[in-house]
Amino acid sequence: MATTYEKIATTTLSSSTATITFSSISSAYTDLRLVLTATASGGTKFLKFNSSATGYSNTYILGDGSSATSGRSTSYPRLDLNSQDSGSSTPSLDTVDIFSYAGSTYKTCLIESSHDLNGSGQVMREVGLWSNTAAITQIDLSVAGNTWSTGTTATLYGILKA
């Protein structure tokens, strides 16, 4: 039996890579938590579930050091982790909590993105939706128009309820 909070897999890149993939994800847990510490030479970070390019939406609040804003996307082909380009040397931190990922309803997640560049940066909280009832068995992490840099680390955890 799976333990309550368990690391499923982790990846630290030894070379630049377009997509980080967690595949064949077991349905043995209740929730998933993805932790990403990433650098890239530009581009918005995003994820997709089960290689699907349809059915994503989100609602977010974002602070950039001078103002707070709220926005959303609807019927989008991917789920963005934030709207800011990834830095080339200063890593960003993203956590994605995916609730009832193996359940029969649409899949909802809470996302926290943090990125400070000593004079600029963003902090963001987001609720994301994948309008699909399939169990999530694969997560792909990519950077729009770019690649993840060497040293980028992604870890997937499984969380089990009583």
């Binding site: 039996m1 333990t3 309550t4 909070y5 368990e6 209740t30 929730d31 939406s57 989100n58 609602t59 977010y60 609040i61 707070a68 804003t69 709220s70 926005g71 959303r72 609807t74 019927s75 909590d97 609730f99 009832s100 309803t105 649409y106 909802t108 997640c109 809470l110 926290e112 909280r125 987001e126 609720v127 994301g128 939706l129 309008s131 009832t133 969380i159 089990l160 309820k161 009583a162």
Partner: protein, 186 residues
């Protein structure tokens, strides 16, 4: 007045060797507005509640919930929140309340396949010398509408928390609702 019949619970799991353990899970019944965690042991440093929630109300509105500790319904609570609805942000705070109100944590039953989600941390819950603070994040996205919210809450009482009640701001917790309580070791 809200229905205060308790939700049902599944059984606990054996303690793991990790520092994050499942204590109990409360599940909505469709008959009660309250899900309660009782007899919470003081053997952890912090608590976390992870929720996926829906209300039985026959619309697709976003709902919240009221949190109380140890059955205290006195005016001993306060809260602050920051949120967004996809178009604008809001921030507010309330003092001397009879509960901690968390908004944007659930959705009405007409929102097919949509659930509200949340993560709540209760910090140093077993202390007998400090007031108790929680922080939480919750949200609902409905592909074109929805809310995201961050909240801090205060209970001005130094007693160790042994009971947590979660009361929907809608009508009743749907049977698809689950709140899972975890203990985090110090």
């Amino acid at each position: 007045m809200l229905n205060t019949v308790l939700g049902s619970f599944s059984s606990g799991v054996a303690a793991s060797t990790s520092s994050y353990e499942s204590i109990a899970t409360g599940t909505g019944t469709g008959l009660s507005a309250t899900i309660s965690f009782t007899s919470i042991p003081s053997t952890y440093k912090h608590l976390q509640i992870r929720g996926i929630a829906k209300d039985t109300f026959a619309n697709s509105n976003v709902f919240g919930m009221y949190v109380t500790f140890n059955s205290d319904t006195g005016s001993n609570y306060a809260s602050h929140r920051l949120g967004g609805d996809g178009a604008s942000t809001y921030a507010n705070g309330y003092a001397t309340q009879t509960s901690i109100e968390l908004r944007s944590y659930s959705v009405g039953n007409s929102a097919t396949n949509i659930m509200g989600v949340s993560i709540m941390d209760v910090i140093d819950y077993a202390s007998t010398s400090k007031y108790k603070t929680l922080r939480s994040a919750g949200g609902v996205d409905k592909n074109g509408s929805g809310n995201i919210e961050l909240c801090s809450g205060l209970w001005q009482n130094t007693a160790a928390i042994t009971r947590i009640d979660l009361v929907t701001s809608g009508t009743l917790w749907s049977s698809s609702t689950t709140f899972a309580l975890y203990g985090i070791k110090g």
